[in-house]
Symmetry: C3
Subunit: 139 residues, 3 copies
């Protein structure tokens, strides 16, 4: 059993889902591990992670639209508004999705389903470079 950790930076345009599965796979190759699990951790509270269909972009488009309508920017109840109208909705969207994903791997390959990809979901309106920590454990 061994541990291999790596921090990567994922660039995201504002309000978008961007796939970085290939970087999680690259880390797995670097680790040299064959059987185990990787935790993918997002070091921020205004963006999040989701494992989502990566075939047809319309699915992500509809997902992004849905959560925009669910958590509108102009909610008059919000008091945490100093950093702009997209700040508080970003925290809420983060809380409703995921900060960590844990993905098993066997025979040196991630056990993702055929249509699954790992995405950074940027909730802020402007683009950001985001820190993601990949932590592989296995043998």
């Amino acid at each position: 059993m061994a541990v291999f950790s790596k921090e990567i930076r994922v660039s995201a345009p504002g309000k978008s889902t961007g796939e970085f599965t290939s970087e999680v796979e690259a880390g797995l190759r670097e680790s040299g591990l064959r059987e185990g699990m990787v935790s993918v951790f997002c070091c921020h509270t205004s963006c999040s992670l989701v494992i989502m269909e990566n075939a047809d972009p319309s699915a992500r488009h509809d997902l992004e639209g849905f959560i925009d309508r669910l958590v509108p920017e102009d909610d008059p109840h919000f008091t945490h508004t100093l950093e702009g109208p997209d700040d508080m909705p970003s925290h809420i969207k983060m809380a409703l999705t995921r900060t960590t994903e844990v993905i098993p791997f066997t025979k040196g390959r991630l056990c993702l389903g055929t249509w699954q990809g790992v995405f950074l979901w940027e909730h802020r309106a402007r683009s950001h470079g985001r820190r993601i920590v990949l932590s592989y454990q296995g043998e």
Copy 2:
């Protein structure tokens, strides 16, 4: 420290939550591990996982009803509709719940609370057999 991985198939009628805690426990016994954690990973994007009360079925009934009303099938904003009206809501319900659950175990037993069970949440209208990967790590 050792790793033990196992893929299981969980059958689910359409739109339902089905408990498979006993299969996670069975894998733990097979692994022979006593202290550690298991990641339960769902290899799909139109069903998800949830750790929910397993005593009174009315709690799950109300949970399922709530999310059906939160993400209705007839949302005119959806464009990803080729696979049927239940497809896009399924992806959204998945994103709002979980793809992985990680459960610790000690003394060879899962550290679940008294009322906690592990459920596959099928969001599609028709029944499916779903792939779940169980990955145990510990000693």
Copy 3:
């Protein structure tokens, strides 16, 4: 590689988010581990976990208010009402947030972002002491 497990009890006033990051850090020091990951597991179905901004309390106030409006207590669809009007909303809020968080650590420190804290989110109206299992794996 080694495993270190610890159960803690976190006290929470009713309907609140309470930070317990320092207890996750304390367990890491006790474990003596330097590189790896910790799973933080909530043994209940009417409270949950979230990794949220820990700087400005107004962000958490707005998050709590949002989910209260999203899952109102007086929903006439609910049938699971025997334990009070806050019971079914609690289960739903739990399902929409997280039961486990997995946080990597390197050089003996949690890889949390600058503004990230680990919170217990109590959804029931009255205060509770809640069981949390911390499971550290690494070397």
